[in-house]
């Protein structure tokens, strides 16, 4: 009768609740990585030849797919043409190492696979720059079609140029040797392939976790936001295009020396399509997804080729049919690819970015003198067809003051905001920022001069942490570029950027959410996050589009205090707002718009008594 569990219910601990701290939080990432590396390095020792060959192919394909993960999954640019870049790498080394009689001017480059690798990569970079400068300007669906076009063109060139051996291709390509060690067997070249692949995976990961990487990841959040934060989006697009092409060319080089001959078949459009399948099936935003995708598709094809003829007889190519159908089914069931599902099976402890509190503060801009006219709109008119959205608008903001632009819905405030921030250009009139006209300047240049903004419809990268989102704002305050980022040589500057972002997050009061995904925040908090991001650029003018919408009373108070403090530091602030209570208690001056025009301007108390304003807000129908 006196069982231990007969204690009073009120103090009994529910047995199912795990004790805090002892719950399994997942494996440490480093342990998982080491285990994976061990498995990979043991594979050629224990596996039969057939599986080693399969793994070699998976490695080669994954290298190309990895480039597509960066290009398509992260950057949002779809390419069907990667197989052509693989061909470029393969044919370059094929010609240089296997041709018996190179023309005189090329003779110096012949014979050495390693020299051919360097030349192949340079040539690929050159071609990618050329093709990219022609096709990357294309937006949306034009780009994939453009890549089909040059993918096919290059493929046909491989098949028709006589120096490339036509459709029979080139034979007699030597194997690669490292310090005299000939890699002429599958088991040997296996290590080279996987070293290339793992190096590519790690450098890609490093790159994505850097200043340049954040700029690349911002491409998917829309050009307007990225450019407003100072990112040169066309450069970022080109960067990932060239990187993806180089990965493909390296894969081609390895392929040529593994096969010891090349012909055009593996570089056609159909293979380019397969590479894209791999990236999408693996999980188009995930670096490890490339290996998963390449693995699934290579094994699936092999398996289908082995088994279907046994089931249905040898006639017909059932594997292609089933393969296509399986792709459709996978995309119906798992739109984000397979990697996220796999990642759930092997829980890896989440890691968040360390903030180094000791990092030196970034240099700051010299603030303009209080009272200096920071922004001025002169007779700004904007027409859309027959609609006049802004008519003859004049306004200005001084350093150390807060100006509110108010007006009922549809009054043209957003259009005005676009004119002021340089996103749109007035039909007539001009906008001066610190005395200079901003017409014709890119948003990122204007951002560089010290103007920063938030967006009415919040533009964040929902899957990125709050900290990284804010760090995008500091883009122009760093200079670390692609190669140092890939090899982690810019960590000093990176620490300072991250510390600055963390500082701004604390300043706006979001520090408890620093490592959360931005998309998990409430809408009001996301607006505050945008203010932190704008502040990270060290601006002298803040343009805020409805910052108080969706905030609770206490949060509004805190926001008001923050803006007052910024004002006292000499910041010029322009805000578009609907919340009159918030506006009237905070700002220095108010400009009221209706029907695209200014109907009143003055101190808050004057505006509140202005009959035209009352009419505009409450409606004019008796």
């Amino acid at each position: 009768m006196s069982k231990p569990d007969s204690r009073p219910a009120s103090i009994a601990l529910p047995a199912t609740e795990p004790v805090a701290g002892r719950r399994f939080a997942g494996f440490a990432p480093a342990h998982v990585l080491v285990a994976f590396l061990l498995l990979v390095s043991l594979a050629p020792v224990v596996l039969p030849e057939f599986y080693v060959t399969l793994l070699n192919y998976i490695g080669l394909y994954a290298l190309v797919a990895l480039g597509l993960v960066l290009l398509t999954g992260v950057g949002g640019l779809t390419s069907f043409g990667q197989a052509a870049f693989v061909g470029l790498g393969a044919y370059t080394t094929g010609v240089l190492t296997a041709s018996p009689d190179l023309p005189g001017w090329l003779a110096w480059a012949g014979g050495s696979p390693w020299l051919a690798l360097v030349i192949g990569l340079l040539l690929t970079a050159l071609v990618a720059l050329l093709v990219g400068s022609l096709t990357l300007r294309l937006s949306g669906h034009f780009l994939p079609l453009g890549t089909i076009a040059w993918g096919i063109s290059l493929y046909f060139l491989f098949g028709t140029m006589e120096t490339l051996g036509g459709h029979t291709g080139l034979t007699g390509i030597p194997s690669i040797s490292i310090f005299g060690w000939e890699l002429d067997e599958g088991r040997e070249i296996f290590y080279l392939i996987w070293v290339f692949l793992l190096a590519a995976v790690l450098t890609t990961r490093n790159l994505l976790d850097s200043r340049e990487g954040r700029a690349i990841r911002a491409l998917k959040g829309g050009m307007v936001m990225a450019e407003a934060m100072g990112v040169n989006t066309s450069r970022s697009r080109m960067v990932i295009f060239v990187i993806a092409a180089l990965h493909a060319a390296a894969s081609g080089w390895l392929y040529a020396h593994m096969q010891r001959f090349v012909n055009p078949t593996p570089f056609g459009l159909h293979i380019g399509i397969e590479y894209l399948f791999m990236a999408v099936v693996g999980g188009a935003g995930q670096v490890w997804g490339a290996i998963v995708g390449a693995g699934i598709i290579t094994v699936m094809k092999q398996w289908l080729q082995d088994w279907l003829p046994k089931l249905f007889g040898a006639s017909g190519n059932f594997e292609v049919i089933v393969f296509g159908l399986m792709m459709v089914v996978i995309l119906h069931r798992a739109r984000d690819g397979v990697w996220p599902l796999l990642a759930k099976l092997v829980p890896v402890r989440g890691q968040h970015i360390e903030v180094d509190a000791t990092a030196a503060a970034l240099p700051r801009r010299e603030m303009p003198a209080r009272g200096e006219r920071i922004l001025e709109a002169r007779k700004v008119t904007r027409k859309f067809g027959g609609l006049v959205a802004n008519n003859d608008m004049n306004l200005h903001v001084e350093a150390g003051e807060i100006l509110a632009l108010i007006g009922p819905n549809g009054a043209g405030k957003s259009t005005m905001f676009n004119q002021l921030s340089g996103v749109d250009t007035p039909t007539s009139g001009e906008v001066l920022f610190r005395g200079k006209s901003i017409a014709g300047h890119a948003s990122r240049e204007i951002a560089g001069l010290g103007m920063s903004r938030t967006f009415q419809h919040v533009k964040l990268l929902p899957k990125m942490s709050v900290l990284e989102n804010v760090a995008i704002g500091a883009h122009l305050r760093g200079s670390g570029s692609v190669v140092p980022a890939a090899w982690r040589l810019e960590r000093g500057e990176e620490a300072r950027l991250i510390a600055e972002a963390a500082h701004q997050i604390k300043r706006v009061g979001l520090e408890e959410y620093m490592h959360e995904e931005a998309g998990s925040l409430a809408l009001g908090q996301q607006r505050i996050l945008e203010i932190a991001r704008a502040l990270a650029s060290d601006p002298c003018l803040l343009l805020l589009d409805e910052p108080a919408a969706g905030l609770r009373f206490k949060e509004k108070e805190a926001l008001g205090e923050l803006l007052s403090k910024l004002r006292s530091e000499g910041m010029a602030i322009l805000l578009v707002e609907h919340d009159m209570d918030f506006v009237m208690g905070l700002v220095d001056r108010v400009v009221v718009m209706e029907f695209g025009q200014k109907i009143a301007e003055g101190l808050p108390e004057e505006i509140q008594k202005n009959p035209a304003v009352l009419e505009a807000y409450l409606g004019g129908v008796e």
Binding site: L387, S520, A522, H578, L614, G619, V621
Partner: protein
Amino acid sequence: MNTIAQPVLEVRDLCVAYGKVEALTNANIRVGEGQIVTVIGPNGAGKTTMLSAIVGLLESKGQVAFNGRVEVSPDVERMVAGGMSLVPEKRELFGEMSIEDNLLLGAFHRYRTGKRDHAETMNEVFELFPRLKERRAQQAGTLSGGERQMLAVGRALMGKPRLLMLDEPSLGLAPLITREIFRIIAELRKTGVSILLVEQNARAALAVADYAYVLETGGVAMEGPAHDLRDDPRVIETYLGLGGKHQDMLAT
């Protein structure tokens, strides 16, 4: 409570969330046969969200009963076929098509079910909006703001709806045009159509409506016959988001 025996539309505990963010919580609305009911409230209160959920453009929780038939998850095609018509805030006109074609498409679901009286209905719409008749061949994208709104309303009327839902018909329009639009809304009452009117322009909306709801961040804060709410200082306060210290503003 809007006490009508047989409501055309009855919305019960309607909730809408965008991801984790709740945009509308437990909205309860009734519209009676031939009534004009208005929903007013400040920006971001969830007015547009509510209309989109009722017509089935947005997923929602709760109940929408239309013509006495309960829909747990409304479906746009079914609602439109049943006689519900929404004039959305953005108008959603077919910009590269003529006024006539825009109107014709308003009668699409009737045409499809064999009711081919669009020519007559179009004449009725043209009587209501003579300006549209003058410009019947003009492309919708080239119209001015007021004409666009007229076309949007006219297009909705082409479907001979039982319930017409108008989302901010005065948005961005000059006072004269706003007055014209509201005159037409009042005139529509004669045709027997029930109207659910979402507005920012509180005075105009309350002047034309029978019954009103005040929506405030996510839920119904106040309701009552329109003429009772018209002069209620609390409405104006909620509506403008004015705290106590700005009460003096209303005194003038």
